[in-house]
Amino acid sequence: MQSISPEQNITAVENAILETNKRFDLVGIKAEACQHRSGKKYSFVHIDCPPNQWPSLAKWLKFEQGVDYLGMITGIHYPLEFEFISGKPGYKPGTPEKGWEVVIHLTRKGIKNPNVGEQTVINASKLSGMDIPLEYQVSIILPQTDEPKIPSVQSIWEGADWNEKETWDLVGIEFEGHENMMRVLNPHDSPPGFHPLQKPHKIRYHDHNEMYDDAQGFMRKPLDSDKKK
C-alpha cells in the first residue's frame, strides 16, 4: 500500500507549527511537534491553547488550514486529592493551576466532493503542501474549579456535537453555546452532577481487594442505602 513518507510528514508538521506560532504568537498558543513513541511512524502537531482562545484557533484551523475532521474530545479530571482505594488518602494528581484538561484530536484530511461517476484516487507519494494529511492534538488546561467550562465548537465541526455531549455526560465539562445538550450514555434521568468519569466517583469493584474479598457482592449494601428515596 502506497503511503505517506516520513519526509512528507515532517515537512507538513514543520509548516503547520511555523504558521500556528506566527499567527497566535501574542495570545499564548504554542505549537510543537510530537513523535509517537512506537507503532505509528509519523509526527503530529501538539497545540497548547488557553480556553478563551479555543474558538478563534478552531475557526483558523478549519477555514484556513483545512482541518476538516474532529475525531475525538477527551475530558480529564485532575482533583487536588482523592482516594483511589477507600480509606487510603494521599493520591494527589492535580495542582491549583491544572484541575481539568480537555484534549481534542483533529485531522486534516483534505477531502473534496468528487464529480458524479468519478473517484479521487490519491497518489500518496505525490501529495505536497496542504494536501498532506496531518493530525493535530489540542490541549486545553483549566484551573481547579467545580464548574469547568470551555466554548463549544459545534458550529464549526458538526462532528463535535455528540463528542461534546459525551464529554459533558461522562466527565462534566460544560460547553458554552452548545445547543441541545443532553445525556447520551448515562440514563436520561440521572441526577444533576452525576458524571462518572470524575475521579471521586467510585464504581463497584474499583479496588482489587474489594473485588476478591466479596466477588458476588453479597455482603455489601448500596452506597445510598441509608438515604431516603
Binding site: M1, S38, K40, Y42, Y69, V103, N113, E118
Partner: protein, 381 residues
Amino acid sequence: MAEMWITMGPQHPMTHGLWTLRVKVDGETVVDTIPELGYIHRGVEKICESRDYTQITPYCDRLCYASAMTWAQSYIYAAENLLGAEVPERAEYIRLIAVEMQRIASHLMWLGAYCPDVGNLTVFVWCLRDRELFLDLLQELGGSRMHYNFPRVGGIKRDLPIGFAMRARAKIEMFLERLKEYEMLLDESTIFLVRTQGVGACKAEDMVNSGVTGPNVRAAGVNYDVRWAHPYSVYDQIDGMAAIEKASSNEGSDCYDRYRVRMTEMIESCNMILSALDKIPGGAETHYNKKDEMIYLKPPQRAPEGQTGFSNFEDSRGESSFYLVGGGGKKGRGEFPYRISIRSPMFITIPYVAKTMIGYKVADIPAIMGSFDPCIGETDR
C-alpha cells in the same frame, strides 16, 4: 396531514442492536428523528482505570462483538505508544493478517445482517457460512471464536500454527470465488437494487465534517484511509490499496455504493493477507515458541505521569481511536492508565445517519440505517 412520533426500538429489526430511533412522520415521510443511545453502556473507560495494561485487552475485545480483533489491536497500538514498547516485525505481520481476516468476517456479518433488511434472505445464510471460514482461522490464532485476546503489548500471544498459511491461502481462494456468487445474487436482484439505489444519499464533505469515517466515506468516491495517510503496522510494505467506489449522483453516495465498497474491501483484504503471508519475516510455515523474541518483546510495565499514547486505527466501521494518559494506579505509580478514552466510529455516525433520513419514506429507514453498518457494542461501550 397530522404529524406523529413513532418509536423504533429498543427491540426492532431496524436497529441491529439495542437502541431507539424516534421518528416524526408526516404520512409516510420522515420529518424529524432523535436517536437515543446508551442502553448497553458498561462504563469500560471507568473500569479500565483500575486494570493494568494487559488486563484491559479483553475489555477492548468486548467493545464490538463482530469485530473484536480490530478493537483489541487499536487499543494495543495506543498502549504501545504510551509505554514506548517495541514490537518485532514478524508480530506486526501476524497482527495485520489477523486484522484483515477480522475485517472480512465483520463485513460478512454486515452483509448477512443487511440483506434480510432489504429482502434477500439467501445471502444471510451464505454469509454466515463463509464467515466461519475466517472465524476458524482466527480461532487457530486466538483460541476462541469471537473474543480472541490475541494481541499483547509488545507482540502477540502465539505464533502462526503449522499449516495456517496453507489453509488460509486455500480458504481465500475459495472465498474469492464465492464472492462472485454473492455479486451475481445481489446485483441481479431487482428488489435489492430498488431498495438500495438512489436511497440515503450522503456527500463526502458533509460526512467528514460530521465525523463519519471509513468505508462509508470511501463509498462517496474518496480514498482517504488511515492505513496510507498515517501508516501504522507494516501496511506500507505490503500490496493492496484502499477500496473505493464512485459517487453515483450529485447528492453523493447511496446505499448501493456502500454495499459495493465493502465488497471491494473484502477482496483488497484478501490480497493484503496473501501478500503478508508471502513477505512475513521468518516464513509463514515456521512456528516460533511462545514469547520467542521473533513474536514478543517484553514491554515496560509502567507509564509515568505526563506520558500519553494515541492511536488512530482503521477499524471495519471507520476510525477507532484510543487516547491513554499514564500515571494512574495506587498513589500514581503508573501501573494503570490514569484515563482511557475511546472514540467509537459508530457513536458519531448514528446521529449523522438519523439526520440524513429526513425526507425519505419510513420504509427506507432500515435500508439506510443498515447500510452504515451500526454496531451498538462499541457505540455504548
